[in-house]
Subunit: 293 residues, 2 copies
Amino acid sequence: MTTIPTSAPSATKTLGGTQLARDIRAGVTSAAAELTLLGLPPRLAVVAATDDESSAWYVSSIAKAAAKSGIVCDVVDLGAGATPQGIRAELEKLSADPAVHGIILQTPLPAGANFEDLAASIAPDKDVDGANPVSLGRLAAGLPAYAPATAAAVLALLDHHEVPLAGRTGVVVGRSNVVGKPAAQLLLQRDATVTICHRHTRNLDHYTRTADVLVVAVGRPGLITAQHVAEHTVVIDVGTNPTDDGGLVGDVDETSVSGRVAGLTPVPGGVGPVTTALLLHHTIQSASRSQHS
Amino acid sequence: MTTIPTSAPSATKTLGGTQLARDIRAGVTSAAAELTLLGLPPRLAVVAATDDESSAWYVSSIAKAAAKSGIVCDVVDLGAGATPQGIRAELEKLSADPAVHGIILQTPLPAGANFEDLAASIAPDKDVDGANPVSLGRLAAGLPAYAPATAAAVLALLDHHEVPLAGRTGVVVGRSNVVGKPAAQLLLQRDATVTICHRHTRNLDHYTRTADVLVVAVGRPGLITAQHVAEHTVVIDVGTNPTDDGGLVGDVDETSVSGRVAGLTPVPGGVGPVTTALLLHHTIQSASRSQHS
């Protein structure tokens, strides 16, 4: 006798990012080679002012990825004792340097330094990680601007996996200036109906269960479980939380939601590699534009 | 025998704006007098490039309100034949003029002129109607900036009538750069969970019925009816649609929702007068800052 389960878990599609990242980086590598041949080697500068270890790890991974793609990457380490004035002066110097095409301001910053305030000193046409509030405003207003690479990666993954957005319900958990807010703007631009949730949201599951697309960018492992999702939900997990054994987990409890959602990005191997690839892609875009100006 | 109605309509509070507008304008008038005495008469410039009648009516109502409060208002009418270059040059000239403290770019603009693109030429510290995308970005990033006066008026009305926002559900219908998007940002800043709906939203009533605060800024009379609201909903009607008999109606069908919501702003006499008062208030803020700089 065969028992038919009454609520068989549906198949959850894994929405990986490594193939997409590879494709983007292939384009970056060939464009970088071309620009270098023309005597215009694309150049990315990362400004850091911290001795935070995971930040150092992230910066070195960007530098390695850049080098591998033929982009020169200068890591400007101002040290954890840097002053806001010193950081601003460095950002202004790099903004004025015609050999530099992309500028990233790494977090965390020393106490007393305000990220948004300092990022306003990054020239908008070199703001490849969309950190300058001008970029956020231009993005919201529908003018050309670089979106923060992580937010852009969310959209790129959704497009790569052909997830429809127009007229769908998008729910973003987290309202940071670097992920939550710009991701919400990008979903809105693509005609999704968008809800933004955060730490003051009551009954989070009430909102998240309505999502066709659920973007989670909070930084808390296990935040999203089976109770927060529906079968039609595609979940984009932006969280990257280090584990004790040196690994990474997202904000979504994969075991809990697996089989109960339509799709889920893995961590690692989802948003992360696409983010790095798009940072390099933005740098190439900036370098190509400077060539024509 | 007394019949107890099973679903007696609850009382709907009228959330008027005229008293609040009067209070703001009283402060503006006394500050304007003080600044004028100091030899720094506050000055607002309105740049128009249209022969649209309702625009002309709006500009003249701002000019009258400014004059009544002791703010000099220059209406710079470039005519419907103005070019984007001509409009930009005027905005740049006014931005550079130390005697001018506030600059408004009136809509509609001539064909071929992009509002956001031109508004980017308004100096952010004189952008009293929050039209420059920089202002929208700074607002979203939590940095000081002028919000569009209409969006600021929505929040001012909610505060004036002591409507709680933190942890509540805010639903904004309309995603314009001048009202919907900045109103959503301001509600988010105040810790509401915020949903943005627009013309691609399916089952609009499904979202709007969840709202503790419903902000409607579309420009379509009768868009919101009893089916879109709940008893706990406070409705802010930003619509100002001219009627055949020379009057104004909002986007909310007042007859339909009356008695079925907790509160409703009237049109006229709600958001409108507060918007004008806040434009003047922003101009005074700008003039006071220029005095200290």
